[in-house]
C-alpha cells in the first residue's frame, strides 16, 4: 500500500506540538503570551535592551562602585 506522506508528516507535527502542554501562569498567562514571542526568534534583541537597562539600574544603585564588581568578575575566569 502506498503511504500518504502528507498525512504522516501532519501526524508527526501534531505529535510534536501536543507533546508539551501549553504554558499557563494563572492571571499572568495573557502577559506571558504577549512577551514570549519576542524571545522565540532572535532573543538577543530584547536581551541586549534588558542587559543595558539592568546595567543602568546597577549604576544608579551602586554608582562608581560598579568598577569593583567588574574587577571581581574579571578575576573570575
Amino acid at each position: 500500500m502506498k503511504q500518504d506522506k502528507t498525512y504522516e508528516s501532519l501526524v508527526k507535527k501534531m505529535n510534536e506540538v501536543s507533546a508539551l502542554s501549553p504554558q499557563t501562569l494563572g492571571p499572568f498567562t495573557s502577559v506571558y503570551r504577549v512577551i514570549i514571542p519576542f524571545f522565540k526568534r532572535a532573543p538577543w534583541r530584547p536581551l541586549m535592551l534588558g542587559s543595558f537597562a539592568v546595567t543602568v539600574i546597577m549604576y544608579m544603585l551602586l554608582g562608581t562602585s560598579v568598577v569593583i564588581v567588574v574587577s571581581i568578575l574579571q578575576h573570575g575566569f
Binding site: S21, K40, F52, V67, L73, Q74, H75
Partner: protein
C-alpha cells in the same frame, strides 16, 4: 565493523548539525531546543566539549604565562578539565533527578544535548573575560575609560547571563517537559545546591566562577 566512508559521513553529518544548532541557539533557541530535546545524534556534542577543553588549555596559559613550567601548566589544565567533567556530570544528574522527583518526563538522553548547548554562553563569557584580562588587566579604576569599560563589560556579562537563563529554562521545559511553576520549584532546589558546590570549587582552587 563500520567502514571508513560511513564513519566519515557520520562525522560530517554531526559537524553540520553542530553548526546548524549553534546558529539556532542564537537565532531560534525555542525551535532548536525542541529538536535537541529529541536526543538524536549525540555525537554533535563532541565539538562543543573540545572547545571547552581548548578553553581550559588557554586559561592555564593566561593564568600562569607561556614561560611557566610545563608541569605546572599540565597540572592546572588537568585540574580544570577534571573539575569541568565532574561538574558537567553532576549538573546533568541533578537536573534529571530533581526534575523526575517533581514530575518531569524525560531522561539523560533528552537533557544531554539541551544542557550541553547551554554551555555556549558560558564558553563565550569565559573566553571573552580571559582575553579582556590580558588586554585590560584588572582592577578597574573610576576614570572615564574605566567606567566605560565597566559599563560595557557588565552589559555584556548580563546579556550572556540572561541568554544562559533562557537556555536553562528551555532545557527543563523541553528536555524534561516541566511547566514554568515546576521549573521554579526545581530551581529552588538546584540553585542552593549549586551555590554550595560553587563555594566548594572555589575553596579547592578549581573555579572562581563555576563553569556551568
Amino acid at each position: 565493523m563500520v567502514s571508513k566512508s560511513i564513519l566519515f559521513s557520520r562525522i560530517a553529518y554531526n559537524i553540520i548539525l553542530f553548526v546548524r544548532h549553534m546558529i539556532g541557539v542564537v537565532q531560534t533557541p525555542y525551535e532548536t531546543y525542541r529538536r535537541l530535546a529529541k536526543g538524536e545524534h549525540l555525537l554533535q556534542i563532541l565539538p562543543l566539549l573540545l572547545v571547552c577543553i581548548g578553553y581550559f588549555g588557554w586559561s592555564s596559559l593566561v593564568h600562569h604565562g607561556i614561560t611557566a613550567h610545563p608541569y605546572l601548566l599540565t597540572f592546572s589544565f588537568g585540574k580544570l578539565v577534571a573539575g569541568f567533567i565532574i561538574t558537567y556530570i553532576l549538573v546533568i544528574v541533578s537536573l534529571v533527578g530533581v526534575s523526575r522527583v517533581i514530575g518531569g518526563v524525560g531522561g539523560f538522553r533528552t537533557i544531554l544535548l539541551p544542557w550541553t548547548y547551554s554551555l555556549v554562553p558560558t564558553i563565550v563569557w569565559f573566553f571573552a573575560t580571559s582575553a579582556m584580562a590580558l588586554l585590560f588587566p584588572p582592577p578597574r579604576t573610576v576614570s572615564i575609560l574605566g567606567q566605560a569599560f565597566s559599563f560595557l563589560f557588565l552589559s555584556f556579562s548580563l546579556f550572556l547571563f540572561f541568554w544562559k537563563a533562557i537556555l536553562y529554562y528551555l532545557t527543563l521545559r523541553l528536555g524534561m517537559k516541566l511547566s514554568m511553576g515546576k521549573i521554579f520549584i526545581a530551581s529552588l532546589i538546584l540553585f542552593p545546591l549549586g551555590a554550595l558546590y560553587a563555594v566548594a570549587l572555589y575553596q579547592m582552587g578549581i573555579f572562581r566562577i563555576p563553569f556551568i
